[in-house]
C-alpha cells in the first residue's frame, strides 16, 4: 500500500530532519508532519511586483506564470508536472513578495520539488511558456475588477503608501501582459528568482526533500514602503460599490503590537464573527472584511466593505475603532482572545496553509513570529495581550485612516 509505505518513510525522515533542522539564519522554513499525505512546497521571493523600478506593473506575475508554463530541457513544465500528479499549483503576487507553491501527494514531492527549483532557480522561460503565462495572467487580471475586496485593497495601499512597492497594484489591467518582451521577463526572473534569493517553505510530509540551504543574509532585504504623510479620501470607479479604510500599523519586529492589531481585526472585522460584521444594520448584500496585514515595516490594518449599502456601514467601522481606544471589560476580552486563538490556528490546518503562513512571515523578515512556529512567539505575544495594551495600541496606530470609495460610474478616480 502506498499510504503505509509513505508513513514508514515519513517516520524515518522525521529523525533525519531533527538532526539537520535548518538554523533560522537559513532561508528555509519547515513544518514537518509525518502523518500527512500531502506535501506543500513553496518558493518565496522578496521582489517588487511592479518591477525593480516600479515601472513595469505585472512583470512579477507574468514571470512567475511564464516559468511555471515553460518546459524545462525538453521535458514537462512545472505546471504540467504538478497537474499530472493531481496537485495544486499556486502563484501569488503581493506588492513586495511573490510565491510559487505546489501541494502534491507526498510520494510525488521529490519530483515536484526538483522541477520547481530547477525551473525557478534557472529562470527558464520559453516563448511558448511566455505566451501561456501572459494568457493566464491576463485571465486573472480580467477578473480582478469584479473582486471589490481586492480592488479596495490595492486602492487603499496606493493611498496609504506614498512610495515603494506597496504603492503599486501587484496585478495591472489585463492588457499589460502582452507588452512585455521575453527579454524583459527573463531579466526580471533571473534577478528575482535566483537561488540565493529564495526562501523555501515546506510543510506536511517532507520526506526526502533536501532544501538548498543558504544564508538568509544572501536574500534581498525586505522591501519597505513609505507611508503617506497625511490621510486622504479617494474615489475610484469599479464594477461594484464599496468603501475601504486603512491605517499604517506596527512593523513585524514589534510582535506584541502587531498581534494586538491582529486581535482587533479579528474581534471587530472578521467577515463571519466580527462584532461589526454582525451589526444589525449590515445588509445581506454587504461583505465586510478586515485584517491586519503583517509587513516588514510598517504593517497595515485594512477594512473593506463591498455592496450597494457599504457607505452606510462606514460609521459602524469608525465608531467601533473609536470604542476600542478604551479597554474592553475583562470577561469580553477573555472570550474574544480565546476565540482569536482558535481563529488563528484554524487558518493553518493543512500543509498548504502552513507553508503559506510560514513563508509569508519569513519573507517579511520574522520567520519565528509565524503563528504555529515551534518557538511559540506568536502565541506568547497573544497571551501577553491585555485590554489596556490593546487600547493603547489602537490609540497609537488607528487614527486618521485613509478612505477609498468605490463607485459604479465611468470616469477617472479623483483624490481630494
Amino acid at each position: 500500500m502506498i499510504a503505509r509505505a509513505v508513513l514508514r518513510a515519513a517516520t524515518v525522515f522525521a529523525i533525519v530532519l531533527a538532526v539537520r533542522a535548518p538554523a533560522r539564519a537559513e532561508a528555509v522554513t519547515v513544518h514537518a508532519d509525518p502523518t500527512a499525505a500531502t506535501t506543500a512546497i513553496e518558493l518565496w521571493y522578496r521582489a517588487p511586483a511592479a518591477g525593480y523600478d516600479f515601472r513595469t506593473p505585472g512583470i512579477a506575475r507574468l514571470a512567475l506564470a511564464s516559468v511555471a508554463a515553460s518546459k524545462v530541457a525538453g521535458g514537462a513544465s512545472v505546471s504540467e508536472i504538478v497537474n499530472q500528479v493531481g496537485g495544486v499549483l499556486s502563484l501569488a503576487v503581493y506588492p513586495d513578495i511573490v510565491m510559487v507553491g505546489a501541494s502534491v501527494p507526498s510520494s510525488q514531492a521529490q519530483q515536484v520539488f526538483r522541477a520547481m527549483t530547477n525551473a525557478y532557480f534557472g529562470a527558464t522561460i520559453t516563448s511558448s511558456g511566455l505566451k501561456l503565462g501572459a494568457e493566464d495572467s491576463a485571465l486573472v487580471a480580467a477578473q480582478l475588477p469584479y473582486d471589490s475586496e481586492r480592488t479596495l485593497q490595492d486602492a487603499l495601499f496606493a493611498q496609504l503608501f506614498a512610495e515603494g512597492p506597496a504603492h503599486y497594484a501587484p496585478i495591472p489591467d489585463a492588457t499589460a501582459f502582452a507588452k512585455f518582451t521575453q527579454s524583459d521577463v527573463q531579466n526580471f526572473a533571473a534577478r528575482a528568482f535566483r537561488r540565493d534569493n529564495a526562501i523555501v517553505s515546506l510543510a506536511g510530509n517532507v520526506t526526502g526533500l533536501a532544501a538548498p540551504l543558504h544564508s538568509e543574509a544572501a536574500t534581498t532585504a525586505p522591501l519597505d514602503s513609505t507611508p503617506a504623510s497625511q490621510a486622504t479620501q479617494t474615489t475610484v470607479t469599479s464594477h461594484e460599490a464599496g468603501v475601504g479604510v486603512a491605517w499604517a500599523g506596527p512593523p513585524i519586529s514589534d510582535t506584541r503590537a502587531a498581534t494586538a492589531l491582529d486581535f482587533v481585526a479579528d474581534y471587530l472585522f472578521d467577515a463571519d464573527h466580527g462584532t461589526v460584521a454582525k451589526s444589525s444594520n449590515v445588509q445581506r448584500d454587504v461583505l465586510l472584511s478586515g485584517q491586519f496585514i503583517t509587513l516588514h515595516d510598517p504593517g497595515a490594518l485594512i477594512v473593506t466593505i463591498s455592496g450597494d449599502t457599504a457607505n452606510s456601514i462606514l460609521p459602524n467601522v469608525l465608531d467601533a475603532v473609536d470604542k476600542m481606544q478604551q479597554p474592553l471589560d475583562p470577561a469580553t476580552f477573555a472570550a474574544a482572545r480565546k476565540a482569536f486563538f482558535y481563529h488563528i490556528l484554524s487558518q493553518i490546518q493543512t500543509p498548504i496553509e502552513r507553508a503559506d503562513n510560514n513563508g509569508w512571515y519569513a519573507a517579511e523578515g520574522n520567520a519565528q513570529y509565524a503563528p504555529g512556529d515551534p518557538s511559540g512567539i506568536y502565541l506568547a505575544a497573544a497571551n501577553s495581550l491585555d485590554p489596556k495594551f490593546v487600547a493603547e495600541t489602537v490609540r497609537r496606530y488607528l487614527r486618521n485612516p485613509v478612505v477609498v470609495h468605490l463607485v459604479r460610474a465611468s470616469g477617472e478616480s479623483t483624490a481630494t
Binding site: 493531481g86 472584511s289 496585514i293 509569508w360 506568536y378
Partner: protein, 436 residues
C-alpha cells in the same frame, strides 16, 4: 495575522461534496450503539468532531420540508453554560460549530482548541440532549435559516443541485431543499420540532468521528457524547413524491447571477461497490477534461478557482451520484459540457491502449489534496466507518484506485455516464440555452 487574502469564490464548490486527508492513525469502536472513530494527529493544533445522526431530509414527511434543519439550528440556538446560545458558548471557548442537513443524515461538526475541547464537547452534549424548542428559540432559528436560504439562492450550483436532487430521490424527502423554504419554516411550532427530535435523535446508526490532537479527557467524552440520547434506530417514512409530468431531463431556473451554469447529475456506484475506484478515476478525468475543454488557460489554482468547472463524486450518500458543472464565463457552457461528454463516451467505447497509470496518479493526488482539513478527515473517516466498517479512507481509496483496470473504466463509464439529468441556471432576462 496574515497575508493579504485573495478572495476566491470557492465556497460554492464545497457546497456538496468534499474529500479529506492525512495518513491517519485510526481507531474505531461501537459504544452504546454509536460508532466512534478517532484519528490521532499530534501535529494538529486543533480537534474536530463530526456527529452524524439519522435525522436528515429523508426523515421528513413532504409537508415537513425544513423541519430537520429547524431542529438542527435550534440545537445551535439553545442556551447553554450561561451563554445565550450553544454557538456563542463554543465561540467564547475557542471553537466553532456548524451543521449540514444531508439526504440521509444530519451532520454536526465541532472544532476547537485542545485545552478547552472537553468543555466544548460537554456543552454540545448538554444542548443535544436537552434542546430548547421554545417559540423564542424557533424564531431565532428560522431567522438564521432564512438567511442561509437566501445566500444559497445566489449560488447557481446550489440552486441547480436542489432541482436535480428533487428528481433523484423520488421515494422520500431526501431530495427536497436541505434547509426548507421560508414559507414552510414559518409553519412549524414547538410541538413539531419536539416530535421530530424525539423520533430521530437516537443513538442507533449514529457515528461520532473525531480527528486531531485528541487529549485523554476529550477522547473519553467523544465516546460518550451521545449517551444521553435514547437508544434505538429509526426508518425513513415511505412517501411517494409526484414527479413532474414531463419526459424532459432538463430543468431550468433563473437567478440573479452573472453567467449561466450547467449542472448535470448521474447515478454512481456506492462506496462499498467494486466500481468505487473506477468512478473516482473517471470523476477526476472528467474534472480535468472539463477544465481543458472549457478553454481556460489554467496554469494555477488562482486561475482555475475563478472558474466554475468541476466534477464531484458524492459517495457519502445512497444512492451515490456524480455531479458535473460548468459555468458560462468562457461562453456557452453546454459546448464545454458536450465536448467533455464526448471524450468520456469515446473512452467508454474505444479500444484503450497503453497504461492508465497517469489517470490513477492524478485521481489519487486529487483525492489527497482535497482531503486535508480536520473537517474533511473526520467526515471521511466517519463515512468509511459507516459504509465499510473501516475508517482508514486513505488506504481504502488508494487501493481502490490502484486496482482499477482499463476495462473497469470502460465498464463503469458505459454503465453510469449515460444520459444525465441537467439543470440550467440562467441569469434573469436572458434567452434559454439549448440543452446539450
Amino acid at each position: 495575522m496574515k497575508a493579504m487574502r485573495v478572495g476566491f469564490v470557492v465556497a460554492l464548490c464545497a457546497a456538496t461534496a468534499a474529500p479529506a486527508g492525512a495518513l491517519g492513525n485510526f481507531n474505531s469502536a461501537i459504544v452504546s450503539g454509536v460508532t466512534i472513530v478517532r484519528q490521532y494527529d499530534s501535529a494538529a493544533d486543533l480537534i474536530g468532531t463530526q456527529i452524524r445522526l439519522q435525522a436528515g431530509l429523508d426523515r421528513q414527511l413532504p409537508e415537513q420540508n425544513g423541519l430537520a434543519a429547524l431542529v438542527a439550528e435550534s440545537i445551535l440556538q439553545t442556551p447553554v453554560a450561561g451563554a445565550p446560545t450553544l454557538r456563542n458558548a463554543i465561540e467564547a471557548n475557542g471553537g466553532s460549530i456548524q451543521y449540514d442537513v444531508d439526504p440521509r443524515a444530519v451532520r454536526f461538526y465541532v472544532e476547537g482548541l485542545p485545552d478547552s475541547y472537553a468543555a466544548i464537547l460537554g456543552m454540545v452534549r448538554t444542548a443535544m440532549s436537552r434542546p430548547d424548542f421554545s417559540a423564542a428559540t424557533l424564531t431565532r432559528a428560522r431567522a438564521a435559516l432564512d438567511q442561509r436560504i437566501a445566500q444559497n439562492q445566489e449560488f447557481a450550483l446550489a440552486v441547480g443541485l436542489d432541482m436535480l436532487n428533487r428528481t433523484f430521490y423520488p421515494d422520500s424527502d431526501a431530495g427536497l431543499p436541505p434547509l426548507g423554504l421560508p414559507q414552510t419554516l414559518a409553519t412549524f411550532e414547538t410541538a413539531d420540532a419536539q416530535k421530530f427530535y424525539a423520533s430521530y435523535y437516537l443513538r442507533g446508526g449514529a457515528i461520532v468521528s473525531t480527528a486531531g490532537n485528541l487529549q485523554p479527557a476529550a477522547s473519553d467524552l467523544v465516546a460518550h457524547l451521545l449517551d444521553l440520547l435514547p437508544p434505538g434506530s429509526s426508518v425513513a417514512p415511505k412517501v411517494n413524491l409526484p414527479q413532474l409530468p414531463s419526459s424532459s431531463r432538463q430543468l431550468i431556473a433563473r437567478r440573479d447571477i452573472p453567467v449561466p451554469w450547467l449542472i448535470a447529475q448521474y447515478r454512481a456506484p456506492n462506496l462499498n461497490s467494486a466500481d468505487f475506484g473506477a468512478m473516482l478515476v473517471l470523476t477526476a478525468f472528467l474534472q480535468r477534461t472539463l477544465a481543458d475543454v472549457a478553454g481556460v488557460p489554467a496554469l494555477s489554482a488562482t486561475s482555475l478557482a475563478r472558474r466554475g468547472v468541476g466534477a464531484i463524486y458524492n459517495f457519502d450518500t445512497q444512492p451515490a451520484n456524480v455531479v458535473v458543472y460548468v459555468d458560462g464565463a468562457g461562453g456557452d457552457p453546454t459546448r464545454a459540457f458536450a465536448t467533455a461528454l464526448t471524450v468520456v463516451n469515446v473512452l467508454g467505447h474505444a479500444h484503450l491502449q497503453g497504461s492508465i497509470a497517469d489517470m490513477k496518479t492524478f485521481a489519487i493526488g486529487q483525492f489527497l489534496n482535497q482531503s486535508a482539513t480536520l473537517r474533511d478527515r473526520a467526515w471521511l473517516a466517519g463515512v468509511f466507518a459507516g459504509e465499510c466498517s473501516d475508517p482508514d479512507y486513505i488506504s481504502r481509496t488508494i487501493a481502490a484506485i490502484e486496482k482499477t483496470s482499463a476495462k473497469d473504466l470502460q465498464r463503469v463509464a458505459t454503465r453510469y455516464l449515460g444520459v444525465p439529468n441537467v439543470a440550467l441556471v440562467l441569469p434573469r432576462g436572458t434567452p434559454e440555452n439549448p440543452s446539450p
